[in-house]
Symmetry: none
Subunit: 211 residues, 4 copies
DNA sequence: CATGAATGAGAGTTCATTCAT
DNA sequence: TATGAATGAACTCTCATTCAT
C-alpha cells in the first residue's frame, strides 16, 4: 500500500463529497485500510489534503514553466500556457478541482503557503499577457478581466472533459487556444502547431477512474 | 427576526467555509439566535440550503427569461443573457457561489430537483447559441465548448467582482458581452446600448457585506 | 377545551408510546392546542401525569371500598373486590395501564404519594384474604403469592379486554371470580349473583376509543 | 469489556427508568465507558434493545420447548411450561420485564419480528391447554381467559420474587403449578415431582444484582 | 504494518418550559 | 385564552485522533 493510493482515494472522495464531508473512516475503507492505519501514511486529515494540493500546484507551476520554454514570443507563450492549463486540468480533473475548491478547508498557515503557489502560477499568465500587450499583440478592453476569464474557462474544463468524449485532448487544447486568441483579438492563425502542444502528466493523486 | 436574515447569514457562512464545515450553532450565533431557535425558521440544515438554492435558481431562470424578452435576435439575446448572467453573479456573488458549489451537499432527491432548474437555466443559453448558429451569426469550432466557456467565465465573476472596485457593474457586463462576441466571432460592434443592459436584483439570501 | 380532553389525549399517548417517549407538542396537537397553551391547563408534564394517576388511584380505592360495603363475609368481599378490579381495569384500560406502568416516571416525592395510594388499594385485598383465611374459608399454600397472582391476573385484563369482544364485561367478571375461588379452594358455587356485580365508572382521563 | 456487560447495564437501566428515559451517556457511565465507545459494541440504542429482546425471547422459546420434552401428557406439559415460565421470569426478572414492556419502543419492523417470537412462545401454552382440554383433563369456563391469566400471573413474578426471599425458586414454581392446576380444575395431586422441575438459566443480559 | 478499543469534542436535532404579546 | 418566539439542556450519534497490542 502506497501513499499514492491513499491520495487517489482521498481526491476521489474530496472531489465528490468535499473535504469537510468526507470522513477518515470513509477514506480508509476506500483503500481497504483501518482508519487508524491511515495515520501511518498521512499525519492527519489536513496533512493529507495539504500534500495533495502542494503536489498539484507544484506540478502546475513547473509544468507551466516548462511549457513557457517553448517560445519567447508572448503570443505563443500565452498559447502554450492556455494549452498546458487546459491539458493539466483535463488530465487531472479531480485533483485540480480539489486543489481549487478546498483551499478554504486549510488552516490559515497552510492556506497562505498554498495561496502563494497559486499566485505564482497565475502570475505566469499575467506576465505573458502583459508582455504581449506591451508589444501590441493583444487588444482588449481590460487585461485583468481577460486573464480571469481565460483561467476560469480553462479550469471549467474539469467539469465536463472526458478522455473518451467527443473531442480529443489535443482538440480541446487547440480549441481553447483559439478562444483565447479571439478574446485577445489576435488574428486567427493558430500560433501553435499541434505537435508542439504541451503533453500533460498524470499526477500521483489523480484517481484512475471517476467512479 | 426574519427568514431572510437567517438565509443571509447562512449564505455568508456557506460561501466562506462551505456547507459541511458550517455548524448550525455557528449560523445561530451569526444572527444572534440560539441554535434551537433556528428550527422555528428552518426545518433543518438541508432545508435551509435547499430554500436558498431554490430561490436563487428560480430568480436566475425568471431573470434570464425576462432578459430574453428584450429582443428576438439571437445575437442580442445572447448578449442579454451574458449581461444578465454576469450581472446576477456580480450582484449575488455569495448566493450564486453557494448555489453552484453545494449541489453535492444535497440529498439525492433534492439534488435532482435543483439540477433540473440548473439545466433549465443553461438550456436558455444553449437555445440562443443554437439559434444564432443556425442563422449563421456565430462562428466557432465547437458550440458546446463555447457555451461552457462562456458560462464558466461569467460564473467566475463571483470570485473577483467588488461593487466598489475598479470597474462598474455596467462596464463589466459590457466587457463580457464583448468577450462573448469575440468568442463567437461576431463583428465588433456592441450589439447592446448600455441602457438596455438587464439590471439584476439583489435576492433575499445575499448577505449585505462580505465580512 | 377542558382538562378532561387533555388528560384523555395524554393517557392515549402515554399508554401507546410511554410517558418519556411522548412529547408535549405531540399532546398539544392531539387536542388541537399549541404546546404553550397546555401550560394553562396543566402545570407541566409531570403534573399532568400525576393528576391522572391520582384520579385513577383515588377512584380505585373509593370504588373498591364501596364494593366492600356489599357484604361482610370475607369470601363475598373478595369476590366483590376481584369483580371491581377486573371491571375497573376493563373499563379504564389505558388509564389503569398508565397508572401502573409510569410510576417510575414520577419524581421521588410524587412517587411516594402514589405508591401509598397503590399500597392502600392492595391492602384492601390483603385484608379480605387474611380475614377469609382466619375463618378457614380459604386454603392455599401461600397467601402472599395468591394475592399477587390474583391482582396481576386482573390487571392483565387491560391487555386484552375489548368492550365489543367475545365476552361481556359481566361474564369476564364472573369468570375471574370463579378463577379466584378456585385459586383459594372455595367450593364451586358462585358467591355472587350477577346483579350484585360492582358496576365500574369510566373516569375522566380514559380515552373514548383506543385508536 | 464485553457486550454482555453492556447488555446487563442496559437492562438494569431500562428496567428501572424505561428505554426512552435512559440516555446513552447514562448507559456508558454505568459500565465505565465513554458514550462513543458504546458504539463499538452496539450499533445504536435500538439495536441494543433489539439484541437483548431477541436473546431473551429465543431463550424463552428454546427453554420452553426443552421443558416440553419432559412429558407427552398435556397436564404435565402445562405444569412444565408454567414451571419454566415462572422459573425463567424469576431468574431473569429485569430482562423479562424489559422484553415485555419495551416492545413499543421498537421500530415497526423490529417490533414485528419480536412480536412473532412472543406469539410463538405463547402458542406453546395455548397448544398444551388445548390438548389438555381435548382429552378432558381441564375444566374451565373460558380457555382463553385461563391462558391469559396463567401467563400474566407468571410474568408478575418479576415484580416481587427475590432469590433471597421467603420462598425458594422451586417452592414458587411448585406453588404456581398448584395455582394453575386449580385454575384448570385438575384434581389436587402434584403432577410433577420437584426434581423434574425445569432449571432455568441466567441469560447474558440479566444484571447480577438489582441495585 | 496493522488494528480494535477508546475518547473528548462536536455534529444536527428535539426537548420541556417560559414569556411577551 | 391562546400563541409564536425563544432558550438551555439534553438527546443520539459521528468525528478525528491516539495508543497499546
Amino acid at each position: 500500500m502506497e501513499l499514492g493510493k491513499v491520495q487517489q482515494a482521498a481526491v476521489a472522495c474530496f472531489a465528490q463529497r468535499g473535504f469537510a464531508a468526507t470522513g477518515i473512516r470513509e477514506l480508509g475503507s476506500a483503500v481497504g485500510l483501518n482508519s487508524a492505519t491511515l495515520y501511518h501514511y498521512v499525519g492527519g486529515k489536513e496533512d493529507l489534503l495539504l500534500g495533495i494540493m502542494n503536489d498539484c500546484l507544484s506540478a502546475m507551476i513547473s509544468g507551466a514553466k516548462q511549457a513557457l520554454d517553448g517560445s519567447t514570443d508572448p503570443v505563443r507563450q500565452l498559447a502554450l500556457l492556455v494549452a498546458f492549463h487546459v491539458g493539466f486540468t483535463a488530465t487531472n480533473p479531480s485533483t485540480a478541482r480539489v486543489t481549487e475548491y478546498e483551499m478554504r478547508a486549510l488552516s490559515p498557515a497552510a492556506r497562505k503557503q498554498m495561496q502563494a503557489l497559486r499566485d505564482a502560477y497565475e502570475q505566469l499568465f499575467a506576465d505573458a499577457l502583459q508582455a504581449g500587450e506591451r508589444q501590441g499583440s493583444f487588444s482588449t478592453a481590460d487585461l485583468g478581466i481577460a486573464r480571469l476569464a481565460l483561467m476560469e474557462m480553462g479550469t471549467g474544463v474539469s467539469h465536463w472533459y472526458r478522455p473518451d468524449g467527443r473531442l480529443s485532448l489535443a482538440e480541446v487544447q487547440l480549441n481553447f487556444i483559439s478562444l483565447a486568441m479571439r478574446i485577445l483579438a489576435v488574428p486567427d492563425e493558430f500560433p501553435l502547431p499541434p505537435q508542439q502542444l504541451p503533453v500533460p502528466q498524470v499526477i500521483a493523486s489523480e484517481p484512475t477512474s471517476k467512479d
